[in-house]
C-alpha cells in the first residue's frame, strides 16, 4: 500500500516461482519431523506456504480462525437438558489466553432458542412507574451517549454440576459458563431519565423478545449504578446468540439477569417473582429453605492450563495459566498450589486488572514429572477469599445448584494426564 505496485513484474515473478517449486519435486513437503541431532526439514526445506501464493484479501470477507483451530469451539453436555433450544454450551477456557473472550466462543444459554430480529424491527419499551412511557428504536439508542466497559458474564449455574463431587473432566465444562467481552451501550440510567422514574419506584422488570419472554426483576439501585443497555460486543454488533440487537449488561451479577433481545423494561415498586428468580436461580440450602435474589457472583478462579482438556506435554519448563474474577470488585491476588494446598505461592497477574472483569494469572514452573494437585485461590478488593468446595458445602449443603465458586483441584499424573478431582 505504501509503494506503487508494479503489477507486471510482480505477477511474472510469482508465476516463475510457482513453476520452479513444481519442478523441484515433492521431497520433504512438510510432513517430516525433526529428529535429535538432525536438521529440521521444516527449516532446511522450503515449505509450501513459503513458496506458493496464499489466498487473497477477499477470500474471507468476515475473518474466521485458522483451519488448524477447528477444535477450539463451544461444546455442550447433551445429557444436561431436554432440548437444544433451552440449553447451554460452554466456553473453551483452556484454549484461550488474555482476558477477552472471542465473541464466537462466548458460551450460550437460551430458554427458547436464538431470536432472529432485524434491528429495524426491534423496539425497547420503558413503562410502568414513569412520567412518560417511551418506545425506542435501535436508531434512537445509537443517538444516545454510550460507554465502553469490559465485564465478565458468569451463569449462576457455572460449576453447578460439581456440588456433589468432581463430575466433569475439563474446565470448559466445570467453569466454561463465563465469558468476558467489551460492551458498548447506553447507561440504563440515561434511558430511565428520559422516561422520568417516579419516586415510589424500586424494581425493574427486564424482558426479552425471544420465545421464552425471558424476564427478571432488577433492583432500581443497580440500574442507576452501572447497568448498560448494550448493542455491541468486542467492537461489533452483538452476536445473535448473545442477544442481537440489544441486551442488558448487569456488571458482576449472575448472567441470567443479563436479558438478551431486550424489548421491555417495566418500572415497579416490588419484584415480580418470575420463574427465573423463584423456581430457578434460587439457592436451596440444607435446611430446605432457599435464598433468592443472590445477584452477586462471588470471587472465583480456575486454572485453565493444565486442565483435563489441556494436559501437560513436556517435562521441564511449563506455564500454568488461569482466570480469576469477582462480581464485587477487582481481583487483588491469586494464590496457586501445586501440592494440594500444603504450600502456596502468589501467581503473577498479567494484563489489565479491571472491575468485574476476568483477570489473567500465571505461574511459570518446572515440572519434573511428579504428581501435581493444582489449585488456585482468588482474593478480591472487598477482602473476600475464594472458599474451598468443602467450606461452601458446610454452609450451603449440596443442593444449591447455583453459585458454586469453590476452589477447583486438578490432578496432573506422571504421564501429564490431568483429571478433575477433590481432595481432603
Amino acid at each position: 500500500m505504501t509503494s506503487p505496485a508494479k503489477p507486471d513484474a510482480l505477477s511474472r515473478r510469482r508465476f516463475l516461482g510457482g513453476a520452479a517449486i513444481a519442478g523441484a519435486g515433492l521431497a520433504g513437503a512438510g510432513s517430516a519431523r525433526a529428529e535429535a541431532g538432525k536438521p529440521d526439514p521444516l527449516i532446511t526445506e522450503v515449505q509450501d506456504w513459503s513458496r506458493y501464493l496464499g489466498e487473497g484479501v477477499d477470500k474471507r470477507p468476515y475473518g474466521t480462525p485458522s483451519r488448524f483451530e477447528k477444535h477450539v469451539m463451544r461444546r455442550d453436555v447433551s445429557w444436561l437438558t431436554a432440548s437444544p433450544e433451552s440449553s447451554v454450551n460452554f466456553t473453551p477456557l483452556h484454549e484461550l489466553d488474555g482476558i477477552i473472550t472471542p465473541s464466537g466462543l462466548c458460551f450460550e444459554r437460551h430458554h427458547g432458542g436464538i431470536a432472529d430480529i432485524e434491528p429495524a424491527s426491534h423496539r425497547l419499551m420503558i413503562h410502568g412507574l414513569v412520567d412518560k412511557p417511551l418506545v425506542f428504536t435501535m436508531e434512537d439508542l445509537k443517538r444516545m451517549p454510550r460507554q465502553n466497559r469490559i465485564y465478565f458474564l458468569e451463569c449462576a449455574a457455572n460449576s453447578g454440576m460439581e456440588w456433589r463431587g468432581a463430575q466433569l473432566n475439563g474446565c470448559q465444562f466445570t467453569h466454561g459458563m463465563v465469558h468476558n467481552v467489551m460492551y458498548t451501550g447506553v447507561p440504563l440510567k440515561l434511558l430511565l431519565a428520559e422516561a422520568g422514574v417516579k419516586t415510589n419506584a424500586k424494581w425493574l422488570l427486564l424482558e426479552g423478545a425471544d420465545s421464552s419472554g425471558m424476564n427478571r426483576s432488577l433492583p432500581l439501585e443497580k440500574a442507576l449504578d452501572d447497568v448498560l443497555i448494550a448493542f455491541a460486543m468486542n467492537g461489533e454488533a452483538l452476536r445473535p446468540e448473545q442477544g442481537y440487537p440489544l441486551r442488558a449488561v448487569i456488571p458482576g451479577w449472575e448472567g441470567n439477569l443479563w436479558v438478551k433481545w431486550l424489548r421491555r423494561i417495566e418500572v415497579g415498586d416490588q419484584p415480580w417473582q418470575a420463574r427465573e428468580e423463584t423456581s430457578k436461580y434460587t439457592d436451596l440450602l440444607a435446611d430446605g429453605r432457599s435464598r433468592r435474589f443472590t445477584f452477586f457472583m462471588d470471587a472465583k478462579s480456575v486454572v485453565t492450563n493444565p486442565s483435563p482438556q489441556a494436559p501437560l506435554k513436556q517435562k521441564g519448563r511449563n506455564v500454568l495459566s488461569g482466570l480469576a474474577w469477582s462480581g464485587r470488585g477487582t481481583i487483588k491476588r491469586v494464590d496457586v498450589t501445586l501440592d494440594g494446598g500444603k504450600n502456596w505461592q502468589h501467581a503473577r497477574i498479567d494484563g489489565p486488572v479491571l472491575d468485574k472483569s476476568l483477570t489473567r494469572f500465571y505461574v511459570d514452573f518446572d515440572w519434573t514429572g511428579q504428581d501435581l494437585l493444582i489449585q488456585s485461590r482468588a482474593m478480591d478488593s472487598t477482602g473476600y477469599v475464594q472458599p474451598t468446595k468443602d467450606e461452601l458445602r458446610k454452609v450451603r449443603g449440596t443442593n444449591s445448584i447455583y453459585h458454586n465458586n469453590g476452589i477447583q483441584t486438578w490432578h496432573v499424573k506422571a504421564n501429564g494426564e490431568t483429571e478433575n478431582v477433590e481432595i481432603g
Binding site: 447433551s78 445429557w79 432440548s83 419499551m125 413503562h127 412511557p133 417511551l134 439508542l141 443517538r143 451517549p145 463431587g165 463430575q167 466433569l168 440510567k189 431519565a193 428520559e194 424482558e207 420465545s211 419472554g213 424476564n215 417495566e266 415480580w272 417473582q273 420463574r275 423463584t278 423456581s279 436451596l284 430446605g288 429453605r289 435474589f293 443472590t294 452477586f296 462471588d298 483435563p308 482438556q309 506435554k313 517435562k315 501440592d339 494446598g341 500444603k342 504450600n343 502456596w344 514429572g369 494437585l373 485461590r377 482474593m379 477482602g383 473476600y384 477469599v385 467450606e391 454452609v395 443442593n399 499424573k413 494426564e417 483429571e419 478433575n420 478431582v421 477433590e422 481432595i423 481432603g424
Partner: protein
C-alpha cells in the same frame, strides 16, 4: 425544541470539560496524590438532562407487551377456567413433554409431586413442592408456553391450565374448582414461606478478611473423589504422551 437543546449543549460542554481536565491532572502529578483532591466534575452526579429521544408509548402498545403478572395480582387479565377444562388443554398441549400428570417425560421439567423432598439428597422442585407464588405459574405459562408456540393460550385457557396444575399438586382437590382473576390471589403455595433474600454478607462473613495460610498448611493430602469414576464428560480422551 429550543428548550430541550440547551441542556444537551450544556451536558456536552460539561463532558468536554471533564475530558480536558482529566489528562491535565494525570500529567501534572503522575504518582503523588494532590494535596487537595480535584473536585469531581461528574455530569452523572448532576440531574441528567433529557435528550428528547424515543417517542411516547401508546396504551395499546403497553397493553400488548405488558404480560407480566405479580404475586399481588397486578397484571392478571380478566378470565376464568376450571380444573376439568385445564386437564383437556394440558393433555393436548403440555403432556407430550411434562407427562399426563406433570411427572415430566425424559428430561423435561417435573411439575407436580416432590412434596417434602427439599432436604433430601435428590430434591424434586415442583410447583407444589418448591415454587413460592402461583402468579409465577400464570406469568411463565403465559409468556413461554407451550414450548415453541408461546403466547398462544387465551386468558381463560391460562386460568384453566393453572387450575389443573394446582389439582396435580393436591393444592385444590375439586375437579370443578374454577380459578379466575377474582380468586387468584387467595391461593397460596405450600413453600412460600421458605424463601429469604440473599444474606451471604452476614451468614458467610467468614469468607471475608482472612489471611490464608501460605506454607506448611496441612500435613497430608488425599484424593477423595475423581470425575473419571462417573465418566460423563463429553469426548473423553485417553492419556496423552509426555516427552
Amino acid at each position: 425544541m429550543s428548550r430541550s437543546v440547551n441542556p444537551i449543549l450544556l451536558a456536552g460542554l460539561a463532558a468536554v470539560a471533564v475530558l480536558a481536565a482529566a489528562p491535565l491532572i494525570a500529567q501534572t502529578k503522575p504518582a503523588a496524590k494532590p494535596a487537595h483532591p480535584p473536585a469531581k466534575i461528574a455530569p452523572a452526579a448532576a440531574p441528567v438532562a433529557k435528550l428528547g429521544l424515543g417517542r411516547e408509548a401508546l396504551p395499546e402498545e403497553i397493553k400488548a407487551w405488558d404480560i407480566a403478572v405479580r404475586p399481588d395480582g397486578k397484571g392478571l387479565p380478566p378470565g376464568k377456567g376450571t380444573v376439568k377444562q385445564g386437564d383437556e388443554i394440558f393433555q393436548a398441549q403440555c403432556a407430550s413433554c411434562h407427562g399426563e400428570f406433570g411427572q415430566g417425560n425424559n428430561r423435561w421439567p417435573v411439575l407436580a409431586g416432590g412434596m417434602g423432598s427439599l432436604k433430601s439428597d435428590r430434591p424434586e422442585k415442583t410447583i407444589g413442592s418448591f415454587w413460592p407464588d402461583l402468579s409465577t405459574v400464570f406469568d411463565y405459562v403465559r409468556r413461554a408456553m407451550p414450548y415453541g408456540n408461546a403466547q398462544s393460550l387465551s386468558p381463560d385457557e391460562l386460568y384453566a391450565v393453572t387450575a389443573y396444575l394446582l389439582y396435580l399438586n393436591d393444592i385444590v382437590k375439586d375437579e370443578d374448582f374454577e380459578l379466575s382473576d377474582k380468586n387468584f390471589t387467595s391461593v397460596k403455595l405450600p413453600n412460600a414461606a421458605a424463601f429469604y433474600d440473599d444474606d451471604r454478607e452476614t451468614t458467610e462473613k467468614a469468607f471475608w478478611g482472612k489471611e490464608p495460610c501460605m506454607t506448611n498448611c496441612k500435613p497430608e493430602v488425599k484424593i477423595t473423589g475423581r470425575a473419571v469414576i462417573l465418566d460423563v464428560t463429553p469426548d473423553s480422551k485417553t492419556a496423552p504422551k509426555v516427552d
